[in-house]
Amino acid sequence: MAGLSGAIAGRRVLVCVGAGGVGKTSVAAALALSRALEGGKVLVCTIDPARRLATALGLGALGNVETRVPDEAFAAAGIEPRGQLFAMMLDVKRTWDDLVTRHAPTPERRDRILRNRLYQQMSAALAGSQEYMATEKLYELATDRDYDLIVLDTPPTANALDFLDAPDRILDFLGDDQAPLLFSPARGARLGFRLAQLGGSFLVKTLARFTGAEMLRDLGDFLASFQGMYDGFKARAAAVHELLARPTTGFVLVTSPGARAVAEARSLQARLVAEGMPVAGAVANRVTTSLWPAGRPHPTAPALAAALGEADAGLAPGLALSLEEHERMAAAEAAALAELLAATPGANAVVPRLEEDVHDLAGLAALAERLRG
């Protein structure tokens, strides 16, 4: 086990990916802390709606702004970083608003979009919206700020790579190659207008049965208000994709030793490689490490009782059972992890299950130590 220090040195962006519940947020925060300890100006950005990073970093409430982890918090944990650590939580709605503001051709158009009821719902409730805005924000932070390293925690999606697909999916419906057809240069080139032209046709009547006629008008207005902005969005998404593919970016596969999480990490890895995305390494988190030499039979309760002596003999059955269970878990986990670790030679870290959950800076520092290797 080489640790990740070589694999992540010199990277400007790290993206932690993996199944839900494997400790991505803790790993992201620890990777950020690790660099900040060495002297960099580092930001960790989490998208997790459950706001776990805030708890782990001792910050009451993270917002869409970058917040510096205060010196007192480090001092209280007995840590003296040479650099600075910033943390933030993605505010999906705000990021959408910023994106619209940036691309709107006029203030009137911007206001028309921001006021639109459908837009307000879309920015919060749309599937993939979170993932899209995460990469959007990452790009903004990576280009407009002077961080030495930005670590992105990714949302707990069912499919952990949704954030690669989300921008395209969303752009697709804001206006793909069908957009010219929808927003034809005809007079009043608005979908609402075009639908009105079709009005009375059975198509619109049927659709109206489905959505209600007013909904159709709202939607037409919504789509029309995005007219002309599509190219800007598209160019931006391409730039975001380019940033993710840079060699100074690194994806860190995070997994727990469970068979399911490891399988997901393996398929993530395959997908990233296929997309030309740089995989920096893998972290196996919360692993049960073996305490007993391989191949030697486990001690029986009577054998342990004899070794313990009369005073402690009562502990023997519990000890035998605990060792037996522990070793069974260790063997099963090692088997589950073998392929993943072999596929990331010299760039992986195995983090033993710690006695305490990581939930404070001291815990993050200990985790950072383990990750460096």
Partner: protein
Amino acid sequence: MSPIPHLDRRLVVVTGKGGTGKSTVAAALAVMAARRGKRVLVAEVNATERVAPLLGAPPAGPVVREARPGIFTVDVTPPAALREYGLQVVRFQAIYDAVFENRLVRHFLRVVPGLGELVMLGKILHEARPAEGGRPRWDQVIVDAPATGHAVQLLRVPGALLGMVPAGPLRSDAQWMHDWLVDPARTATVLVTLPEEMPVTEAIELDRLLRERVGMEPTAVLVNAMPAARFTAEQVARLAPLAEAAGPVGPAARAARLQAVRSGLARRELARLRVALPLPTACLPLLATTGWGSREVERIADALAGGPGGSPWLD
């Protein structure tokens, strides 16, 4: 009387943090219901299917399939659900194809925010509610819902649409769906968590989000992977020096100490959970395995039903 009276509802929504074992719990609840002779559907929501494999069956895909006698599974996806919903609205395949397969309309439907969630929920709730004038299709529909944030996003869609869509068919659908979800007589909501710091914090947060953003009252908490309380406090104190011992005692005591520490932390987190969430709470045992299949699901179902170990429900 059902061993878990709180969960005996037509619809059971299982949610919680990622990695806490939602699918295992959903599968175990289905096994319990099937053991009582019920006909159950377990619905996953646009997911990598886990429930059918956990029951020893191949994945069902977007079409309902029987995984084992009495238990059916389905993976509800937006395209399949939209098609079903659309057909229900227009009734005729030819009209559906002409309208919904129209390029312009397909584009248009993708823009409706929350429509994917709405039709998926619609499909699930449609399965749960009785057919017009008829018997319910299922005795119970169990939803293996997404993790915290995405579950709230899914479940709040009908309520959110009520605030956004003018009167019309879409609104009335959103209305009956919302009514179902927030009715504790028809819908039970189970929060699955682990007895660890972050999962407990997230379960507390999820409870709040469900109440505030969706209007759902969680019914019960299931604490998964609870380590056994194997040693007394005096014994735990003895483990530290024994862990340094030579021979077989050292490693065995270290393993025992890790177990004891984990068990102690788990009980501390359980206590914190119970103070924050005064809901019926049951603990499920930690199984020493990484691979999950039907045998493990049966064991969890046994534990939930209250086997020789007694009722899993805490006072």
